[in-house]
């Protein structure tokens, strides 16, 4: 394949589904969903995209004494015929980067459908039900997925001066290649942007489990969500409505 793609192994896959997540999104949704899938399904990394053309490799980021280096990795979960892709969002050359993902997905994996995971920052509270605001690549897929309550009949145009998201670009490139794809957008309360939001990734994993027959019971996530809700409520009682900063850091510390 392309020299920018590096295969570690060559797992056997049969028209799998692919789930795509990005690190650094609100509520750590992409990382939490993909980590959960890989961990529960025993996924193994099998392929990487080389970072040189896509990231500013002018040093390395350190967060809490930990080195962070861009990662763009495919994982195979052959038992459930699933491919997971987790990546740092590229800084440059989006089209080339997305094309490489889809080269692997299409030419090597022969994927049948792709779901990207994305979080939207919302004004709603953590107690509100997390409704999907997904975008489908085609009316056919929308019809096929209609029983999952993924869409809200959204009409949207990027306002002047704005830019479409990486997920929208991905969906467009996948659509041009004829791959059935959907962006699974889910709202994250604004005060949980830099924390975890187990309620949100539970929603995404619940859909994926049902759609792909993964058999997750998700009780562990229910417990996490319950714990987090308790902490938020405790924080609100103790510090009042204006102490969101403390609450968020408390939630972040306890769940991370």
């Amino acid at each position: 394949m392309n020299e920018k793609v590096h295969f570690l192994t060559r797992p056997e896959l049969h028209t799998p589904t692919m789930v795509v997540g990005w690190t650094m999104d609100a509520g750590r949704l992409g990382r939490r969903v993909t980590d959960y899938l890989v961990r529960k399904l025993g996924g193994q990394a099998f392929c990487e995209i080389e970072p040189a053309d896509f990231f500013p490799l002018n040093g390395v980021a350190i967060v809490n004494d930990i080195v962070f280096f861009p990662e763009s990795r495919f994982y195979a979960c052959p038992e459930k015929d699933l491919v997971v892709f987790l990546s740092t969002p590229p800084s440059y050359e989006w089209y080339q980067f997305l094309s490489l993902i889809l080269d692997v997905a299409q030419d090597y994996c022969h994927v049948r459908e792709i779901y990207t995971v994305g979080s939207m920052i919302a004004m709603g509270a953590h107690t509100a039900r997390r409704q999907f605001f997904s975008t489908m690549g085609s009316p056919e897929l929308k019809m096929e997925l209609s029983r999952y309550d993924l869409t809200r009949e959204t009409d949207f145009e990027t306002p002047p001066g704005g830019r479409p998201t990486l997920n929208s670009f991905f969906l467009w490139v996948a659509k041009r290649r004829g791959i059935p794809s959907a962006n699974l957008w889910i709202p994250i309360p604004f005060y949980l942007v830099s924390a975890d939001d187990p309620e949100a990734y539970r929603g995404v994993l619940d859909f994926l489990s049902d759609r792909l027959n993964l058999g997750f019971d998700l009780a562990d996530l229910d417990e996490q969500a319950g714990l987090q809700n308790e902490r938020i409520m405790k924080g609100l009682t103790t510090y009042g409505q204006h102490s969101r900063k403390l609450i968020v850091s408390s939630v972040s510390w306890s769940v991370a």
Partner: protein, 304 residues
């Protein structure tokens, strides 16, 4: 119809050694406004485009009923027109392919884009390429913008100097004989030279204090377009640009009034020191309005 990698041509008209005129956005949007006004005036037809996704990030997503309807990118389009005395190709880029968050194109992407434009020029037998852009100058916004010219060979410079209101970059007061043209409006001429095309870059003057202001400067576009019209031997109605200039004048004056008075005085001095012999638009208007007064006064004086 497909033609070459990354270029889509809708038709392949027979053109006889057309000139190509190119514009990308830049300071004051002078180049792109010039070429787009010319395109409208001569009613040039769309010829094709460069596929955008390798060069640009999308600028708009359109979702209808939760289904992705379209993703839009900045366009890079070719146009053509058969004029009475020559054929023309036009190219208008909505954005410069800026790498790594920079304002102007540079490096591999810019070079690639320049070559795609020249691939089309070559295909249609083009010999000469014109680009246009901004010349940041120590001038005043009430003065007429002059046009600075640079070219790929001396013979062309001599030709350009023959047009009114034009000077060579080296003739600009205090500039010396070295300079630089930033972005694709400059790079294209360099690549054109490398590939054996004749190339000319025409730059309309914009006052230095307006060069970072994010609005167009149609006065300079008008000067460049007047020169292009003379070169091409076409009649171009300048009223749209004149109207735009008049509108912008109000905006610029508002900005100018907010400058500290010492700065304003210093800038106004430029107007007073405008080269002897140079008649500004304002002078011209004033003279037209008052010329009769002079004669009447002279008559009156004689009578006393």
């Amino acid at each position: 119809m497909g033609w070459a990698v990354g270029i889509i041509l809708h038709s392949e008209p027979e053109l006889e050694q057309p000139d190509m005129i190119v514009g990308w956005p830049g300071i004051g949007n002078i180049g792109v406004l010039t070429v787009d006004t010319l395109r409208q005036q001569i009613e040039a037809e769309e010829l094709g485009e460069i596929e955008p996704w390798d060069y640009f990030y999308p600028n708009k997503v359109i979702i209808r009923g939760s289904v992705l309807h379209d993703l839009e990118f900045p366009t890079s389009k070719f146009y053509y027109k058969r004029l009475a005395n020559r054929d023309l190709l036009l190219f208008i880029g909505e954005e410069q392919p800026s790498g790594h968050g920079r304002m102007y194109a540079e490096g591999g992407k810019a070079y690639e884009m320049a070559n795609r434009v020249l691939d089309v020029a070559e295909k249609f037998g083009c010999r000469r390429i014109y680009t246009s852009g901004a010349a940041v100058a120590l001038t005043h916004h009430s003065l007429r913008s002059r046009v600075w010219a640079v070219a790929t060979e001396k013979r062309l410079l001599a030709e350009m100097k023959g047009y009114a209101n034009t000077l060579l970059m080296s003739e600009v007061e205090g500039r010396g004989d070295v300079g630089n043209i930033t972005g694709l409006n400059g790079l294209l001429i360099g690549v054109a030279k490398k590939r054996g095309f004749e190339g000319v870059c025409l730059m309309g003057e914009i006052p230095d204090y307006l060069s970072r202001v994010p609005f167009p400067y149609p006065k300079a576009s008008q000067s460049v377009l007047e020169m292009l019209a003379a070169i091409l031997g076409v009649e171009v109605d300048m009223s749209a640009l004149s109207d735009m200039t008049a509108q912008m004048e109000g905006v610029i004056n508002n900005v100018f009034r907010q400058f500290p008075s010492e700065v304003r005085d210093r800038i106004d001095q430029r107007r007073r020191e405008a080269q002897p012999g140079m008649i500004t638009e304002e002078d011209e208007k004033w003279i037209k309005e008052h010329i009769d007064d002079f004669f009447h006064r002279e008559d009156g004086d004689k009578g006393q």
